[in-house]
Subunit: 263 residues, 2 copies
């Protein structure tokens, strides 16, 4: 049995749905990294920067966006202390951001999925505070920041949208603050899974069944737990019948009970 149900979810979940659809061109559909796909035809547009821009505004944004070559698993988008030039929108795949402390240990500061914006850790000090690594084969749109600033001067909607995106990042970080300062291991992991679930749903993927592209160690570093504790809590939630866990494949069997764990 290769997975929870005896058929291969990995392939079906991962590949198909995240492709940026490009109208009726079937070739583009199968190639989510196609650099020709514009914001206006990108199926992630309503999760991403262009939201609340009109057609004309979107095409102006389109012009400053660079669609780079895709990154392989393990490749870095940027590293700690790199000069800040751009923010990035995830087109497909996923990323982790992390910092290395003095004795070389890493701590994961975030995970990023399609439609989410990356790189705002560099805006304050004009230097990236995190490193960002692809967790799987992934592609991104690069938005040079000085050009984004210039365009925001001309498009009030874009300025407003970017203030909102940064505001949401602040809100999200403060939620993690309270999570880490008062939740138990089980509550942290439940909350983490619910966050992933909601974000998969945003991408039109199943909120009940998905793949983790990060390791138990990554999750532990993010949640302030050891990888052993993460593993034990997964086992515990499975024993209670709330989850089914098979390696990186997660099925949330009792969504309500899981939600009740974090109130």
């Amino acid at each position: 049995m290769s997975n929870l149900n005896g058929n291969n979810v990995s392939a079906s979940i991962a590949a198909e749905k995240l492709a940026s659809s490009s109208g009726n061109n079937p070739l583009l559909r199968t190639c989510p990294q196609n650099p020709a796909v514009s914001c206006s035809s990108c199926r992630l547009a309503d999760l991403c920067l262009p939201i609340s821009l009109n057609q004309n505004e979107i095409s102006q944004l389109d012009e400053i966006i660079e669609r780079n070559r895709p990154l392989k698993k393990g490749e870095h988008l940027y590293r700690q202390r790199d000069p800040f030039r751009s923010v990035f929108a995830v087109r497909s795949g996923s990323f982790k951001s992390y910092v290395l402390n003095a004795d070389g240990q890493s701590r994961v500061t975030g995970f990023y999925m399609p439609g989410e914006i990356l790189g705002m850790d560099g805006i304050g000090k004009r230097e990236h505070m995190n490193s960002v690594m692809a967790l799987e084969h992934s592609s991104i749109c690069e938005i040079p920041f000085t050009q984004l600033e210039k365009l925001s001067q001309q498009l009030p909607n874009l300025q407003s949208r970017f203030f909102s995106i940064m505001g949401n990042e602040i809100t999200k970080d403060q939620e993690i603050h309270t999570l880490l300062s008062s939740y138990s291991a089980e509550e942290r992991l439940a909350s983490f899974l619910l966050s992933l679930s909601a974000r998969y749903a945003r991408c039109q993927l199943s909120p009940e069944r998905f793949l983790l592209h990060m390791t138990r160690g990554d999750i532990g570093e993010y949640l302030g737990l050891t990888l052993e504790t993460v593993s034990r809590v997964f086992s515990g939630l499975q024993k209670k019948g709330i989850l089914r866990v098979k390696n990186r494949e997660i099925e949330i069997v009792e969504m309500g009970t899981l939600k009740a764990l974090v109130q």
Copy 2:
């Protein structure tokens, strides 16, 4: 003996220096809450929003800023779920932001000192995610956000400045994330004191001797510790000769050793 050295630091530290000086008007000097003090004459201007604006730009900013009545200790500036209208700059005093969870427990999400910007927790969802309470008699400048957005359209420097401020907030929140996910109680408290110390220095106050305006419980809620642990760590650091602690008065005796604790 009323404090560490037998004289009253509380009064001298707290009152005098934080006043927004107003050139050569001695009356304004003694009244930090004077609503007439403009950005251009405010001694906090170079910590605050106006930095990198020229005289003309500052006076445009000045026009949209409302200087409200001061808040007494324990009063709220805004509460969780209040509609978002403005961000605020702390003029004098200090504030804590906090959230209440389902069972009525509070968790502190931040402390704010003169020159720092407050209220960005509302930008994303147009609704405040935190409550904010004055920790002492305090005053603020209110900056209506829609007007700030409008003015940012006209003043590229202001837009850029506000992007930076929000970027720094994100960076700060991520630093707390790594603090909470991997530091011991002692490391957390050391890091907290060093942060306060640096921020007092920014306000032209002593980085070695200052007053805590928050309770041990507030600090614990912020750092993810119980108030008993906070108290024990203070005692421990005092026993090691790194600090002198007398109620809310802190003296950092060995700054180097304290810094070494967090590497």
